[in-house]
Amino acid sequence: MEELLEILSDLRPDVDFENETKLVTDGILDSFDIISLVSTLNDEFDITIRPANLVPDNFNSAEAMLELIEKLQDEE
């Protein structure tokens, strides 16, 4: 979680990632942010996030992202 939060605050220092739960639904992260986040996550966690994973539910909070990362790590 620590590592993820660090990546997130590098990407957007202005956002409170620990408490936000509607990052995508409320438009806090736009599609440019998502794409650059995905490529960092892919590299750092050695996973492959696909377009199919880009549903709001997977990116609305740091917690949800962590769940997705763990799920994809299990699948590898």
């Binding site: 438009g27 736009d30 599609s31 794409i35 696909r50």
Partner: protein, 546 residues
């Protein structure tokens, strides 16, 4: 049968009565299917085959893909003990390829039909022109467009891609799937519904609910107000401008100057928004009465502070479709990764600008492609391509120049939160949108450039004032348009501030008396100030022809 016509109103009311009166609740969706079929055949009888082909092919492709997925999972499970990791992987890959082939075939077929009907004539003419022969003599397909083809093709293919990605379960019942594709309130001009959000709502039986009925009627009336009272009236002026030669090269005959170009572009912005969003309101209102919530398609788009925000608030469902099924796949493709990676590794990639560029360049290119497609989606004409390129370029440049922009704002000590700065951003965005609209208004690219040239160079107010009378509207009509636009503006500001969806939600906070008075006033305005009668040639909803 236009959305604002009496036959359509009768049709919608009969559908509602049959729906709620149907005794077998679990089969109420069949009423919606039958009414959708009736509506389609009534309006577009000779082209019914096209929508049937789409329903059938997408239905079969989705179920075939799902069957392969299920078989693969079963086989992997059965051979858990005796397959090596490599064998398992190879098997999965082989079945993945099969699914991909089915997806590709269904997409090529369905977009192929859309492409042939919508773009063949344009392309054939252009090719002839490039080859130096007469474009008029080039082979042409003489067909009108099947009703709603751009909408239902996107609705159906979006579902198919969701099934391919395993984010949606395939629909087993072909009649239920046919209802999803042909649902009558959305086939006319969208929204481009997402299967996951709409499917269960269509199938679940709903009972007549007083609140839904009241809100639904309010939303319908609000849509009618935007459409009949504002859009259709303003359309008269835009038509007169067209007919008097304002959009073609014959500017001298019309004598319209630069101020008129600006005025007509503003009128067009008003007309397009009132017409399209009003039509969506009518569709959403009908659905609300039926207990079905259609997706929002507009959220006060002219209050956007950037072009990318504008496209998240205008025709929202088209933007979402493009993002999910075009933008993400391109931006996340191996090709994009390679380009970003090679920039990052180069010596340029070590600089701040290089780092930024390696992060956004491919994303910016992907969004440019999306807007090119959005432009082409609007129609087969060079001006729509220019419209897409214009929007795409702005978004691409603003993404790439983002840090530079922030830097200069900081250097000038402008607070991003300052109210005047936000207002400036809104006006700037609106101006960019207006430039895009000039491409829409003009009959082709070169005349759009001519009109913009006029707007920049010719500012004679005197001529403009004397020409206002040539637009087919009298003084009272202008006043009515201004007053109603102010009402629309007030409501939009209220919705923006409260973050509510519809004027019905706003009114819900008021007392019952105010609610009824507002509804009464709205109906009176529609009856008295609406544009009716044989003298008026009712413009079809602009988006109905797409």
């Amino acid at each position: 049968m236009a959305l604002t016509s009496v036959p359509f109103a009768i049709f919608a009311i009969i559908t509602g009565i049959l729906y709620f009166a149907f005794p077998k609740r679990e089969y109420r969706w069949v009423i919606l299917l039958i009414s959708g079929c009736f509506f389609y055949v009534y309006n577009s009888f000779q082209y019914t085959a096209f929508i049937l082909i789409t329903i059938l092919t997408i239905y079969l492709a989705a179920n075939r893909m799902a069957a392969i997925t299920a078989d693969t999972k079963a086989a992997v499970k059965a051979h858990k003990a005796d397959w090596s990791k490599e064998e398992r992987k190879a098997f999965k890959e082989a079945s993945g390829k099969k699914r991909k082939r089915i997806l590709a075939a269904a997409l090529i077929l369905n977009f192929g039909i859309l492409f042939l009907l919508k773009y063949f004539n344009f392309l054939s003419g252009s090719v002839a022109q490039i080859l130096g022969s007469d474009p008029e003599a080039a082979p042409q397909i003489h067909l009108l467009l099947p009703l709603g083809i751009s909408f239902y093709t996107f609705i159906a293919t979006g579902y198919l891609i969701d099934v391919y990605r395993e984010t949606a379960e395939p629909e087993k019942n072909i009649f239920k799937f046919a209802l999803f594709v042909s649902f009558f309130p959305q086939i006319i001009q969208g929204p481009i519904s997402n299967y996951g959000k709409l499917r269960d709502q269509l199938i679940t039986p709903h009972d007549l609910d007083w609140m839904n009925l009241k809100h639904g009627i309010m939303i319908i009336c609000w849509g009618l107000f935007k459409k009949i009272v504002i859009a259709d009236r303003v359309w008269v002026a835009i038509r007169a401008y067209y007919d008097n030669g304002g959009i073609d090269g014959n500017a001298d005959a019309a004598g319209y100057g630069g101020v008129m170009v600006v005025f007509i572009t503003l009128m067009y912005a008003l007309q397009l928004y009132a017409d399209f969003s009003g039509g969506i309101d009518i569709s959403r209102g009908i659905c609300r009465v039926l207990g079905i919530e259609l997706e929002m398609n507009f959220r006060q788009p002219y209050f956007s502070k950037s072009i990318s925000e504008y496209w998240r608030r205008w025709h929202i469902t088209l933007g979402a479709w493009m993002k999910n099924y075009v933008f993400y796949p391109i931006a996340m493709s191996d090709m994009s990764k390679k380009i970003s990676g090679s920039i990052a590794k180069s010596s340029f990639g070590q600089t701040a600008a290089g780092k930024h560029l390696s992060r956004v360049l491919t994303t910016a290119i992907a969004s440019f492609i999306v807007f090119l497609l959005v432009g082409i989606w609007h129609g087969a004409n060079s001006k729509y391509i220019a419209f897409g390129v214009w929007n795409g370029l702005i978004i691409m440049i603003s993404a790439m120049a983002g840090p530079l922009y922030e830097k200069s704002r900081n250097a000038l000590h402008i607070r991003a939160e300052a109210a005047w700065w936000k207002l400036f951003q809104m006006l700037r965005t609106f101006l960019i949108v207006l430039v895009g609209y000039v491409f829409d208004i003009a009959d082709n690219f070169s005349n759009a450039m001519r009109m913009m040239g006029l707007a920049l160079t010719d500012h004679s107010l005197g001529a403009f004032r004397s020409q206002l009378g040539t637009l087919g509207l009298g003084k009272t009509e202008y006043l009515s348009v201004i007053a109603c636009t102010l009402i629309l503006l007030y409501m939009s500001i209220r919705l923006e501030k409260t973050a509510l969806d519809t004027p019905a939600d706003l009114l819900e906070r008021r007392s019952g008396v105010i609610q009824w008075l507002a509804l009464f006033a709205l109906i009176m305005m529609i009856l008295i100030l609406g544009t009716y009668g044989p003298a008026f040639d009712p413009a079809e909803f602009i988006y109905m022809q797409f």
